[in-house]
């Protein structure tokens, strides 16, 4: 039985070669995978050994499925982002037009300033609503030439 780890807790050459020859059992493979997931030195050694080993090809080329998966992720991202914003805007407009945010009129009080602000906010909300609708329309128009990397960089920010 081969020694999988040396005294320092790193993988031995025997262990890496056995992995390439597909010899280790499941437990050993899990231990090796765990170690490779955090040890740069062993990962480097393993990748160098793989330079000389025969590589397996996947049943189907990965490029198309990966790009399709990325495009799908972008669609879901945009959908969630804009639908959430749209619903928030609709809710706010509904509350505004049904008078939820209007203060009750009390005799002797001057609400001129309040109503002026209320008018301003109403017109801004309407403007926002139109802009949102325009953006939503342009999203579908632009989607076919969208730069996927730009979306993920925005997401990271």
């Amino acid at each position: 039985m081969i020694e999988v780890f040396d005294r320092d807790g790193c993988l031995t050459d025997d262990a890496l070669l056995a992995l390439i020859r597909q010899e280790p059992d499941e437990m050993t493979r899990l231990e090796i995978a765990e170690h490779l997931s955090f040890c740069d030195r062993c990962t480097e050694r393993y990748s160098e050994l793989l330079c000389e080993a025969p590589l397996r090809a996947p049943a189907e080329p990965l490029a198309d499925s990966v790009i399709e998966a990325l495009a799908r992720r972008v669609r879901v991202l945009f959908f969630h982002r804009y639908i959430a914003a749209g619903m928030a805007a609709c809710l706010a407009l509904t509350f505004w037009f049904t008078g939820v945010f209007e203060p009750k009129a009390e005799p002797g009080r001057n609400y001129g300033a309040v109503y002026a602000i209320s008018e301003q906010i109403t017109s801004k909300s309407q403007e926002f609503g139109w802009k949102f609708a325009d953006r939503f329309q342009s999203f579908f128009d632009r989607f076919s030439s969208l730069d996927l990397k730009g979306v993920f960089q925005d997401e990271k920010k």
């Binding site: 780890f5 390439i20 493979r29 899990l30 997931s37 590589l55 189907e60 990965l62 790009i67």
Partner: protein, 168 residues
């Protein structure tokens, strides 16, 4: 990196990534899924990796994906009998009880020191030197979750060895 460049990268390294996934999980279909996940994960951080390091970096991501898959498929729950022997012996116990427990503790210590890596060092630090998981992770330069997993497995191995050594 543009989409075309990333597509070129996938074509250049897909065999390598697939081979790493397959060698670890030994399931062709699963290796295909994991290889795809590897490139999806790589896409987010590809700009941070220098081109000369793409090879080991992709191997590391693939190994991580394979590790997660193997871990979820492999049940690591352990309940160890006689675990109290591994706890620190309190000072206010009767001497004869202490003597018996010291005997047990010595036996456990011997068994711990015969463990193989990667369980030996974590067991010595945790059970014998009373270090915390975080301290062990720092000292051995391993992620804390890996240390926890290795401790669970070490307990199981110790349990088995203790059972084998118990007189019938």
């Amino acid at each position: 990196m543009t989409n075309e460049q990333f597509t070129g990268l996938i074509r250049q390294y897909e065999k390598l990534v697939f081979t790493v996934c397959y060698q670890l999980v030994r399931d062709y279909h699963e290796a295909q899924n994991l290889a795809q996940d590897t490139f999806l994960s790589a896409y987010r951080n590809i700009d941070r990796c220098p081109p000369e390091s793409y090879r080991p970096w992709l191997c590391r991501i693939a190994a991580n994906k394979a590790k997660d898959f193997l871990k979820s498929a492999y049940n690591q729950r352990v309940v160890m009998e006689g675990e109290e022997i591994l706890e620190a012996i309190p000072a206010n116990r009767p001497p004869d009880e202490l003597a018996i427990e010291q005997e047990g503790a010595k036996r456990i210590e011997t068994i711990i020191r015969t463990l193989k890596e990667p369980y030996r060092n974590v067991s010595i630090l945790f059970f014998l030197e009373q270090k915390t998981v975080e301290e062990i992770a720092r000292r051995l330069d391993r992620p804390p979750k890996t240390v926890q997993t290795q401790l669970y497995r070490a307990k199981r191995i110790l349990q088995q060895k203790i059972r084998e050594e118990e007189p019938r």
